[in-house]
Amino acid sequence: MLRYILKRILLFIPTLIVISFLAFGLSKCTPGDPGGGYGGDDELKISERDYRQAIERLGLDKPVFYFDFTAKAYPDTLYRIIYKYKREAAGKLIGQYGNWPQIEAYYHGIEALQKQFVNLPDTVGKKARAKVLPELNLLETDFKDPSILNRFRRIENALAADSTTTDQIQDGYLTLRSSYETIKTAPTRRKLYVPAFYWYGLDNQYHHWASDFLKGDFGESYLTGQPVADKIWSALKWTLLINGVAILVAYLFSIPIGVYAARRQGKPFDRITSVILFMLHSLPSFWVATLLIVFFTTPEYGMDWFPTFGLGDIPDGASFWDVIRIRAWHMVLPVFALSYGSLAFISRQMRGSMVDVLRQDYIRTAKAKGLKEKTVVWRHGFRNALFPIITMFASVLPASIAGSVVIEVIFNIHGMGKVVVDSIFRDDWPVVYAVLMLASVLTVIGILLADILYAVIDPRVRLGKK
């Protein structure tokens, strides 16, 4: 038994590793700048020191992965440009021209010019500075030829209007201008077609992200700086609560319905329930939830029977039973919306597997022995029909957790699903991918549990017979 469990656990490790690659890879494609820096037309550039601190705290100043497989045109030190938009612009310039040394010189030119401007005495060229400096900053994030040329033109115009500044800046500007021309005139595009492999070692973003995840540290929220783990744990509580109750309800009702329908196969009860269950199975839960909330929580239609949102506030000093009562009252609608789908699914499966079992020879034998119908069904049939229902737990749990996303949003319950949706709308990406990862881990554990349960009940499985 122990060996079987160990084997199953070992098999899940590669699965989890691949999922972590996927979640991490997706998290690297997110829009927006986690350092809160400048981008697009945002003229406010937070000070370089603050930006660098934020990036270093988030660990984003490290290489992304253990290695990089790319074209030779891209240098292995590209990750050292800490500004996200500047790094991306540099990458895209390389993608067009393939000559990193020239591009690097061009970026040095911009930086030198920026420094020169900042170091100018305050009395000189205030106007020009106000116009040129933002253009220079934006130049760092530009990679398309027309838009770069456009910026140069604007800088020239601003300088032409202010001759005192021009005298001091002219040299730096001309070098910058010519270094951009060199990029265009001396491209080495063939380097884009030569593969290169760079090894970065263990000190990389993925390694830290994954090992922190194992330690229970899911990073920090871009918005509030609060640890993601805190946010998720408090949300997980509610998700597990409503899903636990919903699955319990579904199993409690569906098993008797399934067994009863199977015993009366082809009779009116069976036919009617099977149609109803089929309908329930196809009813989209978010529609049902919307209808429930529209009709049963507002006085409009005279059926204001349930609270609309949330899981209720618990007043201070409420007794245990009060808490239960308030919570239960708020949970009726969401739990109903969550459970009827799996109820229909499980009932149908239960009926199917019971019908199969009741066809077996040993059931006929039991009946022939003169045992009571009840004993035959429950003692002999039911146990064997239960196997597939137990393994179904593995698919019901993840489906239920995913399904609760929309239920939580509709009923405004602060579970994982609502946290994910809110975080997506607010670009708080670490939360999204931590939840994705965590939900996958939970699913994997659910599958594992079902496998183990199955092995416990059915010895053939663990003994490896097929």
Binding site: L26, P284, A402
Partner: protein, 428 residues
């Protein structure tokens, strides 16, 4: 081949002389619910295809200042880039023209027509319209958009989602399922030379197909550039396999291993199934800077192929042990030829079952995403977005009822068709 099978099962059903397809059709015909679902589906498809002729703010035919126009047809030409609107149609609303004679579609509103005089009116409320012809039969939303028009537009989106998503899912699923089912873990023998060349080829194919074209992919048209990338990828893989085939004749490293195709593909399916699909979908769709309904369709397809793959795998595992496959193999046909010409065609019927259920699921997922408002342009009207409006307007029951009903009916139709197909193709 199928003739033989049909005769076998034909004897059982007292229907000698019918081939497999006719038999399935006959069985399917006995399931009344499934047959009616199929008929109703044709109606839905009709509505989706000819929606702009039934529901449109533009007239079908009109005469202004002695000139005749066919605005609905013209719209199609304009959308295809073949034609341009006359200036008076651009500047004026369709209601504002002085028509000499006009024929309007059944419902004279488009999904985005805003009838501000009649915002938020229910089907039974009094409406400020000129005549019954202009009535909003199922009410309007807060911007005065007609619910019927929205439902028709939603039908288009939903069916299109189902078709595109399931086409992609079928392609991937059938490929993986066929390889896993036909070869299993021990039938695919590969020489070391071929493995080596394939690994090298794979690395180079990824590099030239995608990595070295990074700039084009990120700045050009994403879909088009990705298709180009896939083409380069396949070309390089083909070249390497071709070289491997040539070399295998001359070099004597024939020794190889049994490639565990089934094991690897089943692992991949297990991984896909371990990630909660809706969460994965949410977190992928949210990444796109420019939301588009086509991204949603493609991603649903890319995620939803595992069911089809398992189905095809199971079918091919059964089929590969049938006598006629053994016979073709004994005759020395190539494996590729056997799979494509003999094994797969007999497995494709049952795939229809999982495609039917898959479309139901895709429609549901699309509605789910648009209900949450993630991954869609803000002005998009689908069943999901309409249903979402109901959450802000509890007194407008018609907005909560009809779009949801449309989703429910469509999903049920496909589920019933799937059930009917399952019964009809039941091999037991």
């Amino acid at each position: 081949m199928s003739q033989e099978k049909a005769e076998n099962s034909g004897k059982k059903n007292n229907a000698v002389g019918l081939n497999y397809r006719q038999l399935v059709r006959r069985q399917f015909g006995k399931n009344r619910m499934a047959v009616w679902s199929l008929r109703f589906l044709w109606v839905l498809i009709f509505v989706a295809v000819f929606g702009s002729f039934l529901v449109n703010e533009r007239p079908l035919y009109c005469k202004i200042d002695g000139e005749t126009y066919f605005p609905v047809f013209k719209q199609i030409a304009v959308d295809l880039g073949l034609d341009k609107w006359e200036s008076k149609f651009v500047t004026n609303d369709w209601d504002d023209h002085e028509y000499e004679s006009v024929v309007r579609p059944l419902v004279p509103y488009s999904y985005n027509t805003q009838d501000l005089k009649n915002s938020f009116v229910g089907p039974f409320d009094e409406q400020r319209v000129e005549s019954l012809r202009w009535r909003h039969w199922l009410g309007t939303d807060n911007l005065g958009r007609d619910v019927v028009a929205g439902l028709v537009h939603g039908t288009r989106i939903a069916l299109l989602t189902g078709i595109i998503a399931m086409s992609i899912a079928s392609l991937i699923g059938i490929f993986f399922g066929a390889v896993a089912g036909y070869f299993g873990d021990d039938k695919l023998k590969v020489s070391w030379l071929r493995i080596l060349l394939n690994v090298v080829g794979l690395v180079l194919a990824i590099f030239y197909g995608f990595l070295s074209r990074g700039y084009a992919i990120s700045e050009g048209k994403l879909g088009w550039e990705l298709i180009k990338g896939v083409f380069i990828f396949s070309a390089i893989m083909w070249v390497f396999n071709f070289v491997a085939k040539l070399l295998e004749r001359f070099v004597s490293i024939k020794k190889g291993i049994r490639f565990p195709a089934d094991l690897l593909i089943m692992r991949l399916i297990e991984i896909m199934n371990s990630i909660p699909a809706l969460l994965l979908l949410l977190s992928v769709v949210a990444l796109f800077q420019k939301p588009s309904i086509f991204n949603v369709m493609v991603i649903i397809g890319l995620i939803g192929w595992t069911g089809i793959a398992r189905f095809v795998r199971a079918e091919l595992m059964r089929i590969r042990n049938l006598e006629y496959i053994q016979a073709t193999r004994a005759l020395g046909f190539k494996e590729k030829y056997i799979i494509l010409r003999h094994a797969l065609p007999n497995a494709l019927g049952p795939v229809l079952i999982s495609v039917a259920f898959g479309i139901a699921n895709a429609v549901l997922i699309e509605a789910f995403l648009s209900f949450l408002g993630i991954g869609l342009p803000a002005d998009m009207v689908t069943w999901g977005t309409m249903l979402n409006e109901a959450r802000n307007a509890f007194d407008a029951w018609w907005i909560a009822l009809f779009p949801g009903l449309a989703i429910f009916v469509t999903v049920t139709l496909f589920n019933l068709i799937g059930e009917g197909l399952t019964d009809a193709m039941d091999t037991r």
